[in-house]
Amino acid sequence: MSLFSDTVDYIVTAANWRGRSGIGQRLIEHVQYSVLTVAIAAAIALPIGVAIGHRVGRRGNAGWLGRLAVVSSSSARALPTFGLMVLVIQQWPGSVLSVWPVVVALVVLAVPPMLANAVVGISEVSPGVRDAARGMGLTERQVLTNVELPLAASLLLSGVRSSTLQVVATLPIAAYSGQGTLGRLLIDGLATRNFAVAAAGSVMIVAVALACELSFVLVGRVRT
C-alpha cells in the first residue's frame, strides 16, 4: 500500500473518527478553538479599528493613540505565532495544559488584518456621503451605525475572513502545547512515525480551511 492510499484509508475508516481522540473530536476542538480565538480578536480589533477609522474620516488623522494602535498592530504581523505560544506557556505558570497560550498567540495573529480593514473601510467612506448624513441631522453615533458601518461591511467581513483563515491554518501548533485540534494528528503521527496519520491530519486541515473560505464566500454573496 502506498502512503497516499494509506492516507485516504485512514480518513475514510469510520473507526478513526470515533472516540475521545478520534478525528471527529479533533475536528470539533479545531472549530471550537478557532471560533473562540476569532471572537476574542474581533472583540479587540473591530471596536478599535472602527473608532480609529471614524476619527480619521472626521478629522483627517488618527491621533497619536490611533497611530500607535495601527503601528503596533501592523508590526505584530512580524511576530512568529509558534514562538509567542511557547513564550506564553513559559511566562504564565499554570497555563500549561490549557488552551490559553495558543489562543493568546493566535489573537496576536488575528487582530492586525481585522483592525487594518476596519480602519480603511470606515475612513474611506466618501466625505460627501458622511456630510450628507450629518446635514440630514444624524448624530455622530448615527452616522457611524447607519452610514459608515453598512458601507464598510464588506471590507470588515474580508478582514474577519483573512483572520479566520490564518487562525484555522495556524491552530495546529496547539498540539505542540499538548492540546487537541487536528494538529494532534500531525504531531502524534510524526512522533510515532505513522506518516499516514500525519498526512490524514494535513488533508483534514486543508479541508477545514477550504470549507471556512467557502462559507465566507457564501456569506458575502448572501449579504450583497
Binding site: L3, F4, T7, S75, R77, A78, L79, P80, T81, F82, G83, L84, V86, L87, I89, Q90, Q91, L165, V168, A169, T170, P172, I173, Y176, L186, I187, G189, L190, F195, A196, A198, A199, G201, S202, V203, I205, V206, A209, L210, C212, E213
Partner: protein
C-alpha cells in the same frame, strides 16, 4: 533569566539565523520568479486568467503548515518540505498583484508605447511591467512578512531555521532562547522588507519621486 546564554551561543544563533534566511529567501525568490511571467501570461492570454486566478484563490486558502506536514509524510525531510509550500504561498499572493498591476496600467501609456514602436514583448517588459511594479512589490512585501514568520513552523518538523530555538527553548525551559528566536525572526522580517524596498528604489528610480 540567564541573558548570558546569548553570548555563549552566538554560533548556534548564527547557524539557525542563516538557515532561516536561506529557507525564506529560496521560497520568496522561487515564488516571485514563477509568478511574474505567469501573471504576465494571464494578462496577455485571457483564457489563462480565470483558471490561474481560481487555482491561486484555492491554494491561498490551503494552510502552509498542513502542506509542510503532508510533504514530510509523503516524501521525507528535505529543505523542499518547507520551501515548496511557502513558495506556493508567495506565488499565489504575487501573481494576483502582477495581474492587478498590469490591468491597472494607464491605457494612454500603452498606446504611447505602441506609437513609439514598441513591440508586444518589449512593451510588456519595458513599459507595462515597470508601470505595474509598485503593485507587484506591495504583494511581495506581504508575502515576505508571512513567509519569514512561517519558516519557524519548520522547527516542528526539524527543518532548521529559527523555529528550532522555540523547540529547544521549550524543551530545556529556557525563555531567553525563545525570546531570541522571536526577536531574530522579527529582525529577519524587517531586514527582508528593507532589502525589497531598497532594491525597488534602485531598480525603479522613478518610484522615489512619488
Amino acid at each position: 533569566v540567564k541573558w548570558s546564554w546569548l553570548g555563549d551561543n552566538t554560533d548556534k544563533l548564527m547557524r539557525y539565523g542563516t538557515e532561516h534566511v536561506r529557507l525564506a529567501a529560496m521560497a520568496l525568490v522561487i515564488g516571485a520568479v514563477v509568478s511574474i511571467p505567469l501573471g504576465a501570461a494571464c494578462h496577455r492570454q485571457r483564457w489563462l486568467y480565470a483558471p490561474v486566478l481560481s487555482i491561486a484563490a484555492v491554494l491561498y486558502a490551503v494552510p502552509s503548515l498542513a502542506l509542510v506536514f503532508l510533504l514530510l509524510s509523503w516524501f521525507g525531510l528535505s529543505n523542499w518540505v518547507v520551501v515548496l509550500p511557502l513558495a506556493t504561498y508567495t506565488l499565489v499572493i504575487v501573481v494576483r498583484n502582477v495581474v492587478d498591476g498590469l490591468g491597472a496600467v494607464d491605457h494612454s501609456l500603452v498606446d504611447a508605447a505602441v506609437a513609439l514602436g514598441y513591440r508586444s514583448q518589449s512593451r510588456l517588459w519595458r513599459v507595462e511591467m515597470p508601470a505595474a511594479s509598485a503593485t507587484v512589490v506591495a504583494g511581495l512585501r506581504i508575502a515576505s512578512l508571512s513567509t519569514v514568520s512561517l519558516v519557524t513552523i519548520g522547527g516542528l518538523v526539524g527543518s532548521g531555521g529559527l523555529g528550532q530555538l522555540f523547540i529547544e527553548g521549550s524543551q530545556i525551559d529556557n525563555p531567553v532562547e525563545v525570546v531570541a528566536g522571536i526577536v531574530l525572526t522579527a529582525a529577519v522580517a524587517l531586514a527582508f522588507d528593507v532589502i525589497i524596498v531598497m532594491a525597488y528604489r534602485v531598480l525603479a528610480p522613478w518610484s522615489r519621486t512619488r
